[in-house]
């Protein structure tokens, strides 16, 4: 959708390359791109101003080193700055010496409080605690039913009674003590930060239950308004931490940076999916890369690990590096890849993907065509595409509903890919030891760099200087 900061800086950087030192004008230009990238990520304009000023200070007069690609140098500075701003003090839950530990959830309508409350309860349960949920959202129709259903799913009791939310919260707390529960999570109604009456109500609930932790739930898609909302809630309730919801969407999530900066409280958790266990502690480093649009390798790897059958994937990867990867393996791995969701999403997470590929609409329908072609081949053909002659070609085309040219293209691309993989396999040899080693042992830095080169991306991988990939598409695409 939006260009990553890396893409933005590429043009400028080309000109900077010959220079020994960045001039003020150069820096201005670079800063303007950084500013745009941050604004497109929905970082608050006030926060952007501060960040850019700080980065500027570090960039002015920075010598352009011969060894380092200046764009990567800059991205490194920006990335480090964002990580520092997002991270810092992390929230460590200290349980009340006199149980129960009380947690209050607050936020705007639709930010995801009820779902987050249940997810949090499940998290506490996984920490060996015995939570109870209190439904004090008596405003939205069926909010309590929603909480009860979720509570059922995770086997956590839910207390609620109709009437007054403050009284419900008080009675719920008593009930929790009676049942001997050690964590109490109070779900409240969504409210506008400017709605005086509703803000007073949640403050009343807070005074009544005396929470040990008050969490503000913030939608990752929130725009510029995130700061005023966070500020208003913080003044009223003294927020202890933030829960970032809907982070599984494609929003860059600049709101995380804005909120963290404005209220100075850590982002404690992030909701990363609709499933109730899709809830984890927050990783500032990943968020920084995401805001900059730099791809999120770690998330990708985690997703891949969930989806791919570890043994098979490793086997396939090994064969790949040895140049033994066949169309059959390819087909098999494609099936796995499809499980990871839309290809465009995966591409977005890969660092240094050339723009042409990011922008190309890659639908799963296209994968289907490839699949159809491979499926129309015999086993021998899949294992050794070189035996595919004219008559085989037209048979495959007929079988897959494609043209002969499509078959040619696939075979040609696959062969080139094989060559490339073989080249990469060379990297896998353990250094210094010589001879044959386990191909699994790759120098990760080199491999990543090679990966970057392969994609022709420049400045793709933050914190990884030296990938001097030439701009434009690698031969593979030409």
């Amino acid at each position: 959708m939006f260009d990553s900061l890396g893409d933005r800086l590429q043009g400028i950087v080309k000109r900077l390359k010959g220079k020994g030192r960045l001039t003020e004008a150069d820096v201005d230009e670079v800063m303007s791109e950084i500013r745009t990238a941050l604004l497109e990520a929905d970082v608050n304009i006030g926060v952007v101003r501060d960040v850019v000023a700080r980065i500027r200070e570090q960039a002015i007069g920075a010598t352009v080193s011969e060894a380092l690609d200046p764009s990567q140098q800059i991205i490194k500075i920006v990335n480090a700055e964002l990580v520092a701003m997002l991270g810092g003090e992390t929230l460590k839950i200290t349980y009340a010496s006199q149980p129960p530990t009380v947690v209050l959830m607050a936020g705007l309508q639709g930010s995801g409080k009820t779902t987050s409350a249940a997810k949090l309860a499940r998290w506490f349960k996984s920490q060996g605690r015995q939570p109870i949920l209190i439904g004090a959202d008596l405003q939205r129709p069926a909010a309590v039913e929603q909480l009860r259903t979720l509570g059922n799913q995770i086997s956590v009791p839910v207390f609620s009674e109709p009437g007054d939310p403050v009284a419900t919260a008080r009675r719920g707390l008593e009930e929790a003590k009676r049942l001997g529960k050690d964590v109490v999570i109070v779900d409240t109604a969504g409210r506008l930060a400017i709605d005086e009456e509703m803000m007073r109500q949640v403050a009343d609930i807070s005074t009544t239950v005396k929470p040990n932790y008050t969490f503000l739930v913030v939608d990752a898609m929130t725009g510029q308004d995130a700061v005023s909302v966070a500020d208003a809630f913080h003044q009223r309730l003294s927020i202890d931490g933030v829960i970032l919801s809907k982070l599984d969407g494609d929003a860059r999530g600049g709101a995380a940076l804005s909120v963290k900066t404005v209220i100075g409280r850590p982002i404690a958790f992030a909701a990363t999916g609709e499933k109730i266990d899709a809830f984890e502690q927050f990783h500032p480093d990943r968020m920084a890369g995401r805001i900059l649009g730099m791809g999120d390798m770690l998330t990708l790897i985690e997703q891949a690990e969930k989806v791919f059958e570890q043994d098979k994937a490793e086997e396939a990867a090994q064969r790949m590096l040895e140049g033994q990867f066949t169309l059959e393996d390819f087909l098999e791995q494609l099936q796995q890849l499809k499980k990871m969701g839309p290809l465009s999403g995966i591409m977005g997470m890969l660092p240094g993907m050339p723009k042409e590929m990011k922008n190309a609409q890659i639908g799963d329908d296209q994968v289907k065509v490839t699949e159809a072609i491979i499926r129309s081949m015999t086993l021998e053909e899949r294992r050794d595409p070189s035996i595919i002659n004219g008559s085989r070609r037209s048979r495959i085309a007929k079988g897959s509903g494609t043209e002969v040219a499509d078959i040619n293209r696939l075979v040609k691309q696959f062969t080139e890919m094989q060559k490339m993989m073989k080249k990469m396999g060379g990297l896998a040899k353990p250094q210094g030891k010589g001879g044959k080693g386990k191909p699994g042992k790759i120098n990760k830095r080199q491999a990543m760099q090679q990966l970057g080169d392969m994609f022709g991306g420049q400045g793709g991988i933050p914190g990884l200087p030296g990938a001097d990939g030439s701009p434009g598409l690698p031969p593979f695409f030409k």
Partner: protein, 400 residues
């Protein structure tokens, strides 16, 4: 952190993506070339450009499956009051005006200190136009979530005009900006379409999680029922816990018929049942709820396409697909609009929660870049707080 095995997996993925991506690239290039050179056309389609299948047979499918739906629908069917094609939005507002104080963007947005107003005060205070003027204007637009791209497109001509001398004072600049912003929202047809000849009319509601789809249906249902339109609400959100109950509360409040399915059931069949039931009972309008979904979840978007397809097959007319967007949404709103439009042929946007401090500026980009008009805005929790979007009023609410 990096295990060597995970690196392998990443390599593998990358290669796979590369492989599939490479094919696409060549493919799209080739199809471009095909139009200029006499090469035989591709028989394989390029699916990226194909719209979701539409079934346009109005009376085609059988009218089965009304049994359970009919049983679930409790309210009696009123005599339809409307007899011609109409744009109901305006009327809804009129009727509301007679009974309840109508909400206006200006008054509700006025509850918060207008950031535009204070910025303009400072701009006017400068007396003349300087670099600071542009900076402040830019910042103000950005704060309203209008986005950096559109902000530049709005301000660059003004800067040029100032250089050329056609804009001389800060007041000129502000007025010119106001005109330029109003000019962005030029769609004239912002009404919701209700066609008496083709009932039941079907309005589907789509959007990401938590934007207020169910609440919007409740409000629209209430307004329509007050106009004498008979309404059926179909609880197509079978995913979120208690979503169907939430809709039932609204249906009971406004006396609408109601159809639901099993939790976790097929949303398309719930919508289909709803339409068939409405058709059997002569109900004018079906409001179809759908589960919130993030636009990058391809399986859920496929599910939504199916809902749309199946709704088209039932004995009704789908004449509105409304994308509900939360006013606090930032630049991601554009991606939401793009993806939902691709999946369901969105006919309009409902901008909710505009009564908070957020300005909902992303709708400018949605309307100008994607051509999807804003039709309604939500200004409060009451049923009468959902009003027809008036661009001039919206822009002046930002400015005053």
């Amino acid at each position: 952190m990096f295990e060597s095995s995970t690196i392998n997996i990443v390599l593998l993925i990358s290669v796979l993506v590369l492989a599939s991506g490479g094919i696409v690239l060549v493919r799209s290039r080739r199809s471009k070339a095909a139009s200029t050179s006499p090469v035989a056309p591709l028989t394989t389609t390029t699916p990226s450009s194909t719209a979701p299948d539409r079934y346009v047979d109005d009376e085609g499918s059988s009218s089965a499956a009304t049994g359970s739906a009919g049983a679930a629908a409790e309210s009696e069917t009123l005599e339809p009051a409307k007899s011609d094609d109409s744009v109901v939005g305006d009327e809804a507002e009129q009727v509301v005006e007679e009974t309840v104080e109508p909400a206006t963007v200006k008054e509700r947005a006025g509850r918060t200190r207008s950031l535009f107003a204070s910025a303009f005060q400072s701009i006017r205070g400068r007396g003349s136009i300087d670099a600071g003027t542009w900076e402040e204007l830019e910042e103000t637009l950005l704060r309203a979530d209008i986005g950096i791209g559109l902000t530049m497109r709005l301000l660059d001509p003004l800067r040029a005009a100032a250089k050329a001398g056609t804009i001389g004072t800060p007041d000129d600049a502000i007025n010119a900006l106001r005109e330029a912003m109003t000019a962005q929202l030029t769609t004239t047809d912002r009404g919701l379409h209700l066609d008496a000849d083709k009932k039941p009319n079907v309005w589907l509601f789509v959007g990401v999680n938590g934007v207020g789809k169910t609440t919007t249906i409740g409000k629209i249902g209430t307004a329509q029922a007050a106009l004498g339109t008979t309404v059926l609400m179909a609880a197509g959100d079978t995913f979120r816990a208690a979503a169907a109950e939430q809709l039932l509360v609204w249906a009971e409040r406004c006396g609408a018929a109601y159809v639901r399915g099993a939790e976790g059931g097929d949303p398309a069949s719930v919508i289909f049942d709803g339409i068939q039931s409405a058709s059997a009972k002569g109900i004018d309008l079906v409001l179809g709820d759908t589960a919130g979904r993030l636009q990058n979840k391809s399986n859920l978007m496929e599910e939504l396409k199916k809902v749309r397809r199946v709704a088209d097959k039932a004995e009704g007319t789908v004449n509105e697909v409304l994308l509900v967007i939360d006013a606090t949404t930032g630049q991601n709103g554009l991606s939401q609009a793009r993806e939902f439009a691709a999946a369901t042929d969105v006919t309009g946007v409902v901008l909710t929660k505009l009564d908070g401090s957020a300005k909902g500026g992303i709708v400018f980009a949605i309307e100008t870049d994607l051509g999807i008009p804003v039709k309604l805005v939500g200004l409060g929790e009451g049923a009468h707080d959902l009003v027809v979007f008036d661009p001039a009023e919206y822009v002046s609410a930002l400015f005053e």
